[in-house]
Symmetry: C2
Subunit: 282 residues, 2 copies
């Protein structure tokens, strides 16, 4: 178990980093933060989200922590490790929240060794950003995916599991980085691509008054932070493009069946669709 | 206005027909029903949804009604009119609830003349079927589209508007049959095609524990009555295929942009998507 005498550093006080900080402070840990703008620190101090924080990365500050959680855009995470990784205490554990894994895990493990990096991805988020929207309850009932490699020790993996339990994640799963990226490519990235394509394919403003729940449901996630998602898409390009192809095959099969009045193919797809969807009823 | 001394016939006591009957009975009208199975009549009588009903179509029963609402599958509606249309009182008004218009409106107007047929489409539904799930409140706050042609009189259109107001629809809009079919092809049929394709493109059962709201939202409508929707798709084939093409162009544009690291196209699509989606916030 993770005892509260461990000092925890959050790097990147956005929505996710801020929520880690808020939850861990509420659980009695001493939480520090490094982030790029002073206002986030000020806010986090004022709202008892962190005990202390800084915008200036120094060895003396970084070196005091036992556990470090990186909650940065992927390329900034990689740059940070290249620039400041050697500041990290050799006995510390490092984890992250990054939404893509194959693109970053190995290079960060190699760079940090002998410090151990146990990659993780909390499947939680909101359509708003910043520490100002963070919440100590953001992860309650959500899923946490840990994606260790053969470089990781069971002890370190167990510590990150404990961290997940402490934050009240509902399910904590272990996947390989590749399994993770394929799953995220399908469940999250492909669905965002579909929503974007549906929202951009036609000027639909004049249809607002006729719109029922179907169109609203399919486009809810069409509001998207273009900086973050472009980076996530491109860092998971291979898996995402493969999932997009799968979807396209199915969509064009249905389109051809409709074009050729192929009733049996249409009905067969609808039957499979109906049965499979029942698995996802809550 | 529609006065309660008008006798109203519902043909087809399913979810929609049953809900029309229940609402109109509650408003004080004498409502009769013709439907194919005796059990629906028995249930509707027992639950005060109709005053009387029959499974046998006779001239003497049909002829007594001032207003007739057809709530049948499109091809059954057309067959019914061909077989029994001459039973309808020459002073009666006829309307419907059919989800496609160009495929049926003209032929039914021609067949029924001089009886006037004012086509309509209540944009309401549930994922369950039958009179057993009907509700007098199904249309409260929903949209009603009336799709008249140059064969219709203003008086008859106004009567069907009054019927919509009585049922407490929120918006009552007038569209041409073509405008209706294009709108339905985009907002409803295309979204169902996307949900079906997403649900059938990959065996996803093992992903249930990782699934967040995005995938659930995009596939909610993947549970689908294959008899009804196959018929609706094929009767609106031309409009639906055009909408599917529009979506495909947008989706493959995004796919190509991702494949070629075309950051500016990806971000541009995301920005447009984000702005447009705000129009649909409730």
């Amino acid at each position: 178990m993770l005892s509260t005498n461990k000092k925890i550093l959050i790097v990147g006080l956005g929505l996710i980093g801020g929520s880690y900080a808020a939850a861990l402070t509420a659980k009695g840990f001493e939480v520090g933060a490094i982030t790029k703008d002073e206002e986030s620190i000020t806010y986090a101090l004022a709202h008892n989200i962190i005990k202390h924080g800084t915008t200036v990365v120094t060895k003396s500050y970084v070196n005091q922590f036992d556990l470090i959680v990186f909650a940065l855009y992927p390329h900034i995470f990689v740059e940070w490790i290249n620039q400041y990784g050697h500041f990290i205490n050799k006995k510390a554990l490092v984890t992250d929240v990054t939404g893509v894994k194959q693109a970053i895990v190995e290079q960060i493990q190699d760079k940090l060794a002998p410090v151990e990096f146990i990659p993780a991805h909390p499947m939680a988020g909101r359509e708003v950003y910043g520490v100002y929207n963070s919440s100590k309850d953001l992860f309650v009932g959500a899923n946490l995916i840990i994606t260790p490699t053969n470089k990781n020790t069971q002890e370190a993996i167990d510590t990150i599991k404990s961290l997940g339990e402490l934050l009240e994640f509902k399910n904590i799963a272990i996947l390989s980085p590749k399994e993770h990226d394929e799953m995220i490519g399908f469940l999250s990235q492909l669905t965002h691509c579909i929503a974007i394509a549906l929202m951009t394919c036609k000027k639909s403003h004049h249809l607002v008054e006729y719109t029922g729940d179907s169109f609203r449901d399919l486009t809810r996630i069409a509001k998207i932070n273009e900086e973050m998602w472009t980076e996530l898409f491109l860092l998971n390009k291979e898996e995402l493009l493969a999932q997009m192809d799968l979807f396209l095959q199915s969509f064009t099969k249905l389109q051809k069946a409709i074009a050729s009045d192929d009733v049996s193919t249409i009905k067969e797809m609808m039957k499979i669709s109906t049965i499979r969807r029942t698995y996802f009823d809550k």
